[in-house]
Symmetry: D2
Subunit: 221 residues, 4 copies
C-alpha cells in the first residue's frame, strides 16, 4: 500500500529559512523514518538545492513557471529538476495562474519528471483541473487557509466532493486536502474521506517543536 | 576611483543553469581578477546560494518580492540575504512591478543590506524611479532588449538623458545601461555618456566562450 | 434547428468605436435579417448600452470581472446585464484569467442570465473549461490569432478534438471556433467539423466594407 | 480662484449602477450648481456615455489602459474620450499598474485631452509619480481606504508631506486626498493642508441620501 503524503509548505515564512528550515527538514526526515509515512517539504527557492542534497525526503518547489529563455526573475522547471526536487506546487491560492498556464505548467513538470501538486479552491475547479492529469489536486477552501479551522471538520463535504469529482474525470489523480490541518485526527479524517494526504504550512513551519507536530500528524495512521 | 559594474543576467536561459552557469561564474571571477573591473552575475534562484559560496564576485537575485509570511512561491528579501547575495534586480522589463511595489521592494532590499538595481524603460520612468533612492537605475529601451543593436550606438541620447534626469532627482543613484551591449566599444561609450556600468544577458550567457566575451567587454576600460 | 453564431469581437480597435462601430452594428443587423444567421457583436464597454438599445442583434461584453463592491476600474456582471447584453466573452487570450476566476465568472454570468463564451487555447484547456458549464467554449489556437491563416484550414484537428473533448465532459456546451476565420468556406468547414459558430475580429472590424465581409461569411450556410 | 474638486468614485458598487447611479449624478449636479464647488463622478464604464450626455458635471473613467488594437476586454483612452469624459483615474489601489504603464497611461490620457488622477499610497510613491506630470495625484493611505477613519484626521502629515513632495518635483501637479473622507470638516482640513480636493467613494455612493452627504461635504467651503 502506498503511504499517504504529508506535504509541508514553507511559504515565505521567516521561520522557513536558514537554521529553522533545517530544523524542520531534519524533523521531517526523522518522523518519516520512524513512521513510514511520506513527509515532503516545500522550502524556499534558494534552499531547494541544499535540502535536496541533505535530506532523504521528497522536496517540492512552491511554484514553477512554464518558461525558458528571456524571462528574468522566473522559476523554470529545469532549474527545479537540476536542484534535485521531486515535484512542485502549482496554482497555490497565493499564486494563482491562468488556466492555460496551469495546463502548460503541468506538461512542463511532466517533461522534467516532476510531480505536480495543483492547488484548487472548490469542487468545480478541482474537476476542471483533474483533466490535466497532474499527480495531485490539493483542495484548499480559501476561507479556511491560514485559519485554525480544519477543513476535515468544517467542511468534510468538500473533501468527499472533490475526491468524487476528480476521480470521475481522471481516476489517476490523487487528492490532497489542505487548510487548517493541525492534528492526527484531521489527517485521519481526511484520509477516511478519500484523500491521499494533506497539505499544510504554518502549523508545522511556525511551531516551536516541528517534530512534535509532525509526530502528532502521523499518530493515527 | 570606483570600478564600473558589468552585470550579467542569466535570465531563464538553460545555458544559465548547472555546469554552464558555473563556467560563466568562473569566467566572471577570472576576468574580474585580471582586469580589476567589477563583474556581477544574476543566476537562477536555486543556484544563488552555491554561487555566493563558490565565487569571489558579487551575486544578484533577478527579482525579489516585498513579502513575508503566507506567500507561497515568492522570493522574500531575507532568503536572498541569507543566500549571501550582494543585491537584486527589481522591475526588469520581463517582470514588471507596480509603482507601489517598486518603492516597497527597494525599501525592503535596503533593510536587508542588498543593493537594488531598478530596471526602467525610458527617461521619464527613470526619473520617477530615481526618487526611490535605489543603488542603481538600469535603463533598457524595450525595443533593443534581445536585439543585437547596442543602446550605446542606437540611442546614446537615452543614456545621457537618463543620467541627467536621474541625477537631477537624486545624485546618489548610479546608472547602468542595458540592451544590446556586446563589445568593449559599447561599454566604453556607455561610460563616456555618464553610465556607471552595463547590464547584459544573452551575449555572455549564450556565448560559446563567456570568458572571451567578458574580456572583450572590459578591454577598453 | 438553431442558427450558428457568428460573433464579432471589436477588441480595442479604433475602427470598433464611434461611427465605424455603428457601421458594423448596422451591417450585422442587416445581414442577420437577410440570412437568418445569428450575428453577435462584442463592442467596447462604453458603447454596450447604446448598441443594446439600437440594434436587434445579440450584444456581448468582451470581459467581465467576478467582483462587486470596492473594486475600482472593473466590470461587474450586473453592469453588463443592466446595459442589456446577451452575454460576455471570458478568458480571451488577450485577457487571461485564473482558473478560479473563470469558474467564478461563469457562475456570476449565469446568475445574471448572461451567456458565457469562454476562450481557450488548446484541446486540454477546452476540456477542463467544459466542466464549468459555460454556454460556449471558443477555441482559438494562439499561433493563428491575428494571422490570416484560418484555423479551419490550418488545424481542423483542433476543432474536431475540441468538439469531442468538450462534449465528452459536458454535451451541453457549444463550441465556437476562432482565429483566422475570413470566408464563407472557413465558416462552413468549421460547422462541418462540429462547431456551433465562429468568433472573429479584425477581418470584420477593420474591413472597408463590413457588410460585404459578413455576407461572405454566411454565404454558404 | 479655482474651485476644489470633490471626486466621487462609484467603484463596482451595485448602488453605483442604474437608477441609483442617476440619483447620485443628479445630486452631484444640483450641489455643484448650488455651491459652486466642482463635483466630479467616476461611474461604471457602461454608463460613462449617458452620464456625460445627461449631467453638467465632469465625468471620469475609473481606469484606462494604454492600449489600442488587438486587446480584448480593455479600456482604450479613445473610447473614454469618445464617451465625452473629462478625465480618468489611474493606478487606483484596487487596480495597480506597473510604473511603465502609469507613465504610458498619463501620456495617452494627455494625448486624448483627458485629465489624469493618479492614485498613490504614500509620500515616496507620490513624489515618484509627480515627475510624470499628471493633472492630479490622489494620495490614499491603504490602511484607511474603506475605513471610516478620515485621513485628514488620522494622518494629516501624509497630506502635507505629499503636497510638499509633489510640488518639489512638479509644482503643476494638484493633490487630492482620499480615504475615509466623510464630512465638511474633513474636506476643509484637507484643503487647509494644501490639497486641491478630495477623492471619495462609499460615503456618497452607498448613502441613503447622496445629496445630503454632498451638501455636508461642501458645507465649510
Amino acid at each position: 500500500m502506498v503511504s499517504p503524503l504529508i506535504l509541508v509548505n514553507f511559504k515565505s515564512y521567516r521561520e522557513g529559512t536558514g537554521d529553522n528550515a533545517n530544523r524542520i527538514g531534519s524533523a521531517a526526515e526523522i518522523v518519516m523514518q520512524e513512521s513510514g509515512v511520506t513527509i515532503g517539504i516545500a522550502p524556499q527557492f534558494t534552499e531547494l538545492h541544499s535540502f535536496c542534497k541533505h535530506y532523504e525526503i521528497p522536496v517540492y518547489a512552491q511554484h514553477i513557471d512554464p518558461v525558458e529563455g528571456a524571462f528574468t526573475g522566473y522559476v523554470p522547471a529545469f532549474t527545479i529538476q537540476t536542484a534535485g526536487c521531486t515535484g512542485t506546487l502549482i496554482n497555490h491560492s497565493e499564486h494563482r495562474l491562468s488556466i492555460a498556464d496551469i495546463e502548460a505548467t503541468i506538461a512542463v513538470a511532466k517533461f522534467h519528471h516532476l510531480e505536480s501538486v495543483v492547488c484548487t479552491n472548490n469542487v468545480a475547479v478541482s474537476a476542471a483541473a483533474a483533466s490535466f492529469d497532474s499527480t495531485y489536486i490539493a483542495i484548499e477552501p480559501p476561507e479556511l487557509i491560514n485559519s485554525h479551522i480544519s477543513v476535515a471538520k468544517a467542511d468534510p463535504d468538500i473533501i468527499e466532493g472533490t475526491v468524487d469529482a476528480v476521480h470521475k474525470i481522471n481516476p489517476g489523480v490523487k487528492v490532497l486536502c489542505g487548510a487548517g490541518i493541525q492534528s492526527g485526527e484531521c489527517v485521519k479524517t481526511a484520509l477516511s474521506l478519500g484523500a491521499d494526504g494533506v497539505l499544510l504550512a504554518s502549523s508545522v513551519v511556525t511551531a516551536k517543536d516541528p517534530k512534535a507536530v509532525l509526530r502528532e500528524l502521523v499518530s493515527l495512521l
